[in-house]
Symmetry: C2
Amino acid sequence: MRTELRRAGAEESLQPVHLQSLIYLSKANRYSNTPQALAEYLGLTKGTVSQTLLLLDRRGLIERFEDDIDRRVVRLRLSPAGERLLYEAQPTLAWQNATRNISPNRIRNAVSALREALTTLQEDNEGAPFGVCHNCSWCQKLSQRIYRCGRMGDRLSGPETRKICRIFEAKKTEEAA
Amino acid sequence: MRTELRRAGAEESLQPVHLQSLIYLSKANRYSNTPQALAEYLGLTKGTVSQTLLLLDRRGLIERFEDDIDRRVVRLRLSPAGERLLYEAQPTLAWQNATRNISPNRIRNAVSALREALTTLQEDNEGAPFGVCHNCSWCQKLSQRIYRCGRMGDRLSGPETRKICRIFEAKKTEEAA
DNA sequence: CTTTTCCGTATCGAGCCGATACTAATGGGC
DNA sequence: GCCCATTAGTATCGGCTCGATACGGAAAAG
């Protein structure tokens, strides 16, 4: 995967960390699309991330705009060019293809086991949690299409609950008897 | 994992690529402990890897010595200091701990599914194969403790068949009907 | 024996990265 | 409202990664 990421980045003359940043931003929800969150996610300092964002901005791959409420905060999102680059690189497609010969049931089991391992790993390291909103213990389902974050008190759309959140807290696993 | 690797490296003031190189060398078999193999494994050029090895050598973490037969070739192995550093960093231990709450059966299934996906992924990318000798189609069992590489014609010890080989070829999966 | 091929190294320039110092905005205590 | 601690982000500097290129030395091809 590491080699693959390097190769994909080299084609656009981007470093692995640039692609990882773009991938993250494409999946970050409203609480997690800031330089600070990206720095925590990548395990880099905010100064380093600031430079990375400078480069991505110069390339026109991201857009930066001020937060309405807290004017210290910079919000980030992919530009159309950034979306296109990511779409053409298709970093996740390779893995989807790689599982084509494996039964859906085995994939489900493997994914579930890996998710448990990841949660335990994150707890052990006391690191930033960073999980998909939909699997978070704060995520409440209000109706067919409307969700709510019990931590922040905001209403969330369905697609938004499939994004990555920096204040994620894992649900207690019921099957881990 | 990426963040973890960076953190572990930072404690020794090493870059991620340095730790990855050490990890690789700790697991590379006799056909795969050269700068060339490491470059292919990491997806870097041989020039870059040469510099990485220069640094690791200056730090006393690896040892370099000439090959007896082909005198162009440099053989690499971890020095005692390098072994100690890896042992203290314990990069694999975190994952072993993370699976402590998962039943051995689920782990076996997940590992098997992942191995299949990896093989497919490698075939798709036509990249360097790099697999564990024991799972290679050339690996023959001669007796209880003696194995043989059908490709190179050498006899291999049991522990050696658990190392990484650059001329790996995946066995045909029997269960993928 | 000559030519080609291959393994590894050396050097240069672009750029990542952490450390440090800095600006600007927020928020708490009074 | 005012002071100060805190927080988000930026700027600068030095060490190092990384690819490109050129090079030397050994092996293989003819």
